[in-house]
C-alpha cells in the first residue's frame, strides 16, 4: 500500500505541487450557513456545553451516502442523537478475520462497545444506484464499469439472489429494485449479528436491530425489527 511519503515523492516527479494551505474559505454558501448555525449553537448553549464534553447517542444509524437520504434530515435528528455510518447502499459485510480496512466493523465496534448505543438501524432507500448496479451486473463480469464500486456492492450479492427468486420475472424493474434494497437491509442486519460484540448485547436484550426503507418517490418510511428467537424444543 502506498504511504503518504511515497505519494509526496510521486507528486514531485510529476512536477505537481500539492500545498495544503491554511484557512481560506472554500465556498461562500457553507461559510454563510455556518454563520447561521453559530446563532443556533449560541441559543442551545446547554445542549452544546454537554455535547462538548462527550456524546451519548442511543442510536447508531447506517445509511446510504446518497445525497437525498441524509438520516438527520429525514428523521429530524438533533446533534448528539445518532452515531451515523454512511457508505454506498448502507452495506455491512459479515464478520471476517481477513485483513483489510474495516470501516463498518470499526464503527459498529465503537458504537456498541464504547458508546453503548441501544439501537442500530440500517436504512435503505428508493432508487438506490448501488443496488441498481448490483442487479445489472452480469455473472461473467462482461459489463464491469468500475475499479471499486462493483467489488463493494458485491457484499449484497446474496440479497440480489433472494430478490430475483421472490419477484416474478415479468414484474416491472422498480419492484425488483425495491425488493432488493429491502433484502439488502436484511442481509446487512444479519451480517451485523455475525459480530460477537453485536450478538452478545442483542441476546441480553441490551441492543435492538432495526431495518428501514425510505421511499422518497411515494412518501413513505417503513421500519421493522430484527428478531432472533429460538423456539421451544418440541419432541418429534
Amino acid at each position: 500500500m502506498e504511504s503518504v511519503d511515497n505519494m509526496q515523492e510521486k507528486l514531485e516527479e510529476l512536477s505537481l505541487e500539492a500545498n495544503v494551505a491554511c484557512p481560506v474559505d472554500p465556498f461562500e454558501k457553507m461559510r454563510k450557513a455556518f454563520e447561521e448555525f453559530k446563532a443556533y449553537f449560541k441559543k442551545e448553549k446547554e445542549l452544546f456545553d454537554a455535547l462538548a464534553q462527550s456524546q451519548h447517542p442511543k442510536w447508531m444509524i447506517i445509511a446510504c451516502s446518497d445525497s437525498r437520504v441524509d438520516p438527520a434530515l429525514v428523521l429530524g435528528l438533533e446533534l448528539g442523537e445518532a452515531f451515523i455510518l454512511r457508505n454506498i447502499a448502507s452495506l455491512i459485510p459479515p464478520h471476517s478475520k481477513q485483513s483489510g480496512h474495516k470501516s463498518g466493523a470499526s464503527a459498529i465496534e465503537y458504537a456498541v462497545e464504547h458508546l453503548k448505543v441501544e439501537h442500530i438501524m440500517i436504512v435503505g432507500h428508493s432508487r438506490c444506484g448501488g443496488i441498481k448496479a448490483l442487479l445489472e451486473m452480469k455473472e461473467d463480469g462482461s459489463n464491469r464499469f468500475s475499479e471499486y464500486i462493483e467489488d463493494w456492492i458485491q457484499i449484497a450479492q446474496p440479497a440480489s439472489e433472494i430478490a430475483k427468486a421472490k419477484v416474478p420475472h415479468d414484474s416491472p424493474f422498480e419492484e425488483l429494485w425495491t425488493c432488493c434494497v429491502k433484502e439488502s437491509v436484511n442481509l446487512s442486519l444479519r451480517n451485523c449479528m455475525s459480530y460477537p460484540f453485536v450478538k452478545i448485547p442483542m441476546e441480553k436484550g441490551l441492543l435492538t436491530l432495526h431495518g428501514a426503507y425510505f421511499d422518497f418517490v411515494n412518501g413513505a418510511f417503513d421500519v421493522w425489527k430484527l428478531k432472533c428467537k429460538i423456539d421451544e424444543h418440541q419432541s418429534l
Partner: protein
C-alpha cells in the same frame, strides 16, 4: 426514542425548515421532490466522522440532494492500492467523482474525535490494544500521529490530539489525491479538494483548500 411517529421528510432541526408529508404531497414542493426522485446531482462530496455531534448537513445547512456523504470513524481515507480490496471510501469516491461528477470533495474533521484519541493513545508495540477492528482502522492515519508526536513532543496530550485531528484531515486529503481519478479531475479543473475542521467547543469552523498547481519542469534546467 427517534421521532419516527413525527416523521418529516427532509427536516432541518436548526433552521426548522421542514418538508412534511403534507408538503411532500402538495403541489408546492413537487418540483424538488420530482427532480430528486429522478436522480441526484450533488455539487459536494463530504467525508466526515460518524460522531453524533458533527452531522455535516446539519452544521452546514445542506439540504436533500446537495451532498453525497461518506462517514466513518475519524473521517479517514485509505491510500490508493493496486490490490483490490473491498473499500467503502474508494467505491464512494469513485462513484461521486466519476459518475456524479461532484465539483468539491471536502474532508471534515472535528474536535474531541474519539478515533484520533484512540490513534494517539496507541503504544508502538501494541501492548495496550483494546479492540478487534478500531485500531486497525485508525492506523490508516499513523503518519499523522507520528508527525504530531515528533513536532509537539512536549505538548499536553489534549493539545497533541487537537493537532492530530487536523493532521488526519490532511492525511485523508493526500490519500484522496493518491487516487488517479481524483488527480485527473483536479488537473482538469473539474474538482477541488478542501479540508474543514469543526470545533464544537469553541463554535468555530476552519476551512482550507488543496492547491494542485503545475510547474513547467523545463524551468529547472535554465
Amino acid at each position: 426514542m427517534l421521532r419516527i411517529q413525527n416523521l418529516c421528510f427532509w427536516w432541518n432541526p436548526y433552521t426548522k425548515q421542514s418538508l412534511t408529508l403534507n408538503n411532500f404531497l402538495s403541489r408546492k414542493d413537487q418540483t424538488l421532490v420530482k427532480t430528486l426522485a429522478e436522480g441526484q446531482q450533488p455539487p459536494y462530496m463530504i467525508i466526515a466522522c460518524c460522531d453524533s455531534r458533527v452531522d455535516p448537513c446539519t452544521v452546514l445547512n445542506l439540504g436533500p440532494g446537495e451532498a453525497f456523504v461518506l462517514r466513518n470513524i475519524g473521517n479517514m481515507v485509505p491510500p490508493y492500492s493496486s490490490e483490490k480490496a473491498c473499500s467503502s471510501a474508494a467505491s464512494a469516491m469513485e462513484f461521486a467523482v466519476l459518475f456524479l461528477k461532484v465539483k468539491h470533495l471536502v474532508v471534515i474533521g472535528h474536535s474531541q474525535c474519539g478515533a484520533v484519541r484512540a490513534l494517539m493513545g496507541m503504544e508502538d508495540d501494541g501492548s495496550n490494544a483494546f479492540s478487534e477492528f478500531i485500531e486497525d482502522w485508525v492506523l490508516i492515519s499513523k503518519g499523522a500521529s507520528k508527525k504530531v508526536k515528533d513536532m509537539h513532543r512536549s505538548s499536553p496530550f489534549e493539545e497533541q490530539c487537537t493537532s492530530c485531528e487536523k493532521e488526519v484531515i490532511n492525511t485523508s486529503l493526500l490519500n484522496c489525491l493518491s487516487y488517479p481519478f481524483v488527480r485527473q479531475r483536479m488537473a482538469s479543473g473539474e474538482l477541488t479538494l478542501h479540508g474543514g475542521y469543526y470545533d464544537f467547543i469553541n463554535n468555530q469552523f476552519e476551512s482550507w483548500d488543496v492547491d494542485l498547481s503545475c510547474t513547467s519542469s523545463l524551468d529547472k534546467f535554465q
